[in-house]
């Protein structure tokens, strides 16, 4: 899993490349937690390089969302491929997360 981070004003964009699974989730959790501790409250996660997500990956995003909400922050997800989005759809997590087709749309809606 390759995690690229880019700060844009009051936002941070994470661009993920690889698979989100039980092996890579701890790395992801660590990166997100560092962001929350830095006080950044608008977090966008670009899924364009993500080919696979399992239930431990979903759990990681739920934990991050809850931490961010508690800190008064927002989490937007974008650019999911059909297969990854399907995992969010069948688990009904699309009701919990703000998911956008592209980064522009996700940023506009912060």
């Amino acid at each position: 899993m390759n995690i690229k981070q880019e700060k844009q004003d009051d936002k941070i964009i994470f661009t993920l490349d690889g698979e989100i699974n039980i092996s890579t989730s701890p790395q992801l959790r660590k990166a997100f937690n560092a962001t929350i501790e830095d006080g950044l409250k608008k977090v966008l996660v670009d899924f364009s390089g993500v080919s696979y997500i399992d239930s431990s990956g979903l759990a990681t995003f739920i934990e991050i969302l809850q931490r961010l909400k508690k800190a008064g922050g927002r989490l937007h997800l974008s650019n999911m491929n059909e297969k990854v989005k399907n995992v969010f759809e069948i688990t009904k997590l699309i009701k919990l997360f703000n998911i956008y087709d592209n980064n522009q749309e996700a940023i506009t809606n912060f």
Binding site: I22, S55, I62, E63, K83, T91
Partner: protein, 146 residues
């Protein structure tokens, strides 16, 4: 085609096993997205067996048996733990459970496979994917179906 493997309960052992199982499936005419579904179900079931079944005890093993016929792919995964009450699994999609981080593995398996059943007091899970969906529809059983 038949395949059997037994691994100690360590997550680190899983990627190699999954790779071997998927390699075996290359001879079967599944579509690419079906292979991804099968992979997800294999990983969820093996992780459950290691984490919740055998409680990460490396002295306990996880068995994986895979059979492929003209009609179906059948995978059975069994752990050596205490079993669990598979009839009492909470629905992770209802509002009060939606924010709970865990509890989606079996739900995903039930959604993505054609038939799912537990055996041996919940120590084992049997997952079936039909190669020919129409053939599968001829078997009306009481098992969990998509």
């Amino acid at each position: 085609m038949q395949f059997f493997e037994k691994i100690p309960s360590k997550i680190d052992n899983m990627p190699k096993l999954i790779a071997t199982l998927l390699k075996k499936l290359e001879v079967v005419s599944f579509k690419e997205d079906e292979i991804l579904d099968i992979r997800l179900c294999l990983e969820e079931a093996i992780i459950n067996a290691i984490k919740h079944g055998n409680r990460m005890n490396p002295d306990l093993f996880v068995e994986v048996q895979m059979n492929v016929s003209d009609q179906e792919l059948c995978i059975q995964i069994r752990n050596e733990g205490e079993g669990f009450d598979f009839k009492e699994l909470p629905n992770p999609t209802i509002d009060k459970n939606l924010t709970k981080p865990s509890g989606r593995g079996v739900f995903l398996i039930k959604k993505l496979m054609d038939e799912v059943e537990f055996f041996d007091k919940g120590r084992g899970i049997k997952m079936v994917k039909f190669l020919n969906k129409e053939a599968g529809n001829e078997h009306k059983t009481g098992k969990t179906r998509r």
